[in-house]
């Protein structure tokens, strides 16, 4: 048995060195985004192209979840905004929303955005309730140091470290075997950046959901501290890159009247925007109980335009 224990320790040591080796495998953004090409209707692939292969600037970057994908009609916001500005001061507004919650992924995206572009304003969507610690693809996409940093210590930390090691092994193997196979992968023909949508729920279903949610007392989410750590990290990144950070709350049907999580933290530190309830209670604006449709996104255009205009004017 002693021999077994000795050999297990040797194996654990070898595994540690392999782990160190893997985490030192340099991140190639093209490879990293290609790795998650099947996720979120190949949104990641589009983000990689937009940042690393297109020379168009990014002046205003919206970061968020699928709520942002369907709420931020970036091209029309840009059009409306630029009508207020002199021609030579036209701005590029880009929606970098990505499916599913996970504040850490927004940080990873922002790092890549600042690598190639110089946005003046970052508009970060916060959910009404903190509901997840880590985005599922965060370990596939982020830099090693961001995966390992102490403020990521939560229940997903071991899983993230393991996934990141597996991902880096794949990267190393692709480079070793020269089996990279990058192509712009457009499997789903959606309007990238902003995602159009039509009403997918019946009115009766929406009414039922609204009543149920309004009757619920929302208890504070358990991931507030992790979210706040990530928001601080995003703020620090913005400051280092001379960009302003503003917050907007991605309201959803039935939760629109509740006080959002992290509100006390946010209101004293950042400019924030809370969309009007009327947009979210008008069923003709909804795709489903959590997302706006195209009409609903159009209803928010003036608000986002004014938010950007006032933030950049200060």
């Amino acid at each position: 048995m002693e021999q077994l224990i000795r050999h297990i320790l040797v194996v654990l040591l070898l595994m540690f060195f392999v782990g160190v080796f893997l985490f030192r495998v340099e991140r190639d953004p093209k490879q990293a985004y290609y790795f998650v090409r099947e996720d979120c209707y190949s949104h990641g692939n589009w983000i990689q192209q937009r940042l690393f292969e297109q020379s168009l600037p990014v002046d205003v970057a919206f970061l968020g979840t699928s709520v942002s994908i369907h709420a931020v009609y970036d091209s029309l916001i840009q059009q409306s905004l630029n009508s207020l500005l002199p021609q030579d001061s036209a701005l590029e507004v880009v929606n970098f929303g990505y499916c599913r919650p996970g504040m850490d992924l927004k940080y990873a995206f922002l790092q890549d955005i600042f690598t190639t572009k110089a946005p003046k304003l970052v508009v970060l969507e916060l959910p009404m309730q903190s509901n997840a610690a880590s985005h599922p693809i965060f370990p596939n996409l982020a830099e090693a140091k961001d995966i390992l940093r102490p403020n990521q210590l939560n229940k997903d930390y071991p899983k993230n470290v393991l996934t990141a090691a597996q991902t880096r092994l794949s990267w190393f193997r692709q480079r070793f075997w020269k089996s990279n196979n990058y192509q712009f992968y457009r499997k789903y023909h959606t309007a990238y950046g902003f995602g159009t949508g039509q009403l997918e729920r019946s009115v009766e279903t929406l009414q039922e959901i609204q009543e149920k949610r309004e009757a619920t007392t929302i208890r504070p989410g358990s991931y507030q501290k992790t979210d706040q750590a990530n928001i601080r990290a995003i703020q620090k990144l913005c400051t280092a890159n001379n960009a302003k950070l503003v917050i907007w709350y991605g309201k959803t049907l039935g939760h629109h009247m509740h006080t959002p999580d992290n509100f006390e933290f946010v209101k004293d530190r950042f400019d924030y925007f809370v969309p009007p309830d009327s947009v979210f209670t008008n069923y003709s604006n909804l795709m489903d109980e959590d997302h706006l449709n195209t009409k609903g996104a159009e209803a928010l255009i003036p608000f986002f335009r004014d938010l950007i205009f006032s933030s950049l004017s200060e």
Partner: protein
Amino acid sequence: MVFNSISFAVFLPVIFALYWSVPRERLRVRNGILLLGSYYFYACWNWQFLSLIIASSLVDYYVGNRLMQSKEEQDRKRWLWLSLGFNLALLGTFKYLGFFAESFESFLNLLGFKANWVTLKILLPVGISFYTFQTLSYTIDIYRRKINAESDWLNFFVFVAFFPQLVAGPIERASSMLPQFRKVQKFDYQQFLSGFRLILWGLIKKVVIADNLAYPVDHFYSNPEAYTQPEAWLAVLAFSIQIYGDFSGYSDIAIGTARLFGFKLVDNFLTPLQAGSLREFWTRWHISLMNWFRDYIYFPLGGSREGPSRHARNILLVFFISGLWHGSNWTFIFFGLMHGLGYLLESRILRKWKRYDGWPGWFYMYAVWVFSLILFRSENIRQAGQAFLTLWAPITDRVPEIGGMFPHPNIGWYTGASMVLMLIIDQFIRKEEINDLIHSKSSWGQWGIGLLMVLWLLMCGRFDIAPTFYYFQF
């Protein structure tokens, strides 16, 4: 929970540590840990179907003891029929009811009767084909007075549910396993090492060879008509290696895992692709299942002792049942019958040729194996027909894209090289096992080989698919 998953990599050391931390005098505690661990292992698949294993264990434990107590032959026969009826009803309901209903419906439609029965979408409990056969062999052996019934329910329940071989074999006999559960196992480091090496070798066969060969095979079978003749041959030949790597890899991991706890399972594969005849192939492929059919169907029917026509009938029946055992689909039935006919052709005609032993025998074996696997792999007879015809399609101007059947040609290259290396190693292993090649080396040599195997696995293994094994669907 699958052998090649992270969750199993966490589960195994925990059970291992718990098992060996219990003092030797507490044998029942050790077996209890194995039983609870096995139930947890199975419940990770589907906790509701755990009730079927427990029910099967309860029925056969009870029947076993009643068989021992009964003196009257009629009584003993009744208890045996209870066990047979219960286990076959379980198997029949979950595995074959939907198939027979649909086949009968198709038959009635063919005759002009409008039949439109509710499609029975019954979920197949993982491992049911394996553990029901295992418990059946227990009650049949007691009836035949070959073994005594197990008096300790814990030993019996662990025998039925033992996790290394629960979901895809080897199908163990009570005569070999129950004495091991009654005995205190002593930790032996060399045995542990041999088990670990076997697990590693099994993972290489599965994750490096089988899973990578699945690329061209899955492509081809998704639409056989869309491929050229060379691509079709590549896919069909690749599947003959894929299924070997997948199933023998699983068996190696199962046997190696059991060895970590001091238990010896039967060999299930003895480099079958080196067999010199179809007959020899079936003594080296899925040995535990074929021995089960031999002992509980072929021999009771008379085997080869009652004349050539009865012998032929028995052979065809065994292979028919073997095909049906694999799944509720006509493709599996025809797969089995093809082997039955191939076996008879070889034994009645081909073996009369003096030069048959050697390359001709091997070639015939491999040809029957490869072509029968078209049926095995296809979803239905129509798809099998399309795949078969594509093998003989006229050569066109279209350039075959063999490298294109892999995500990148270089993956095809290292898969091909790995496959060749595995077959070469098999040539050295023959009827032994991988440990026999390694344990004679020095300590440094063994560590070096182990590290190379791990490197081989990490650098060439396929990790982008949900871990599973082909034989879990049976």
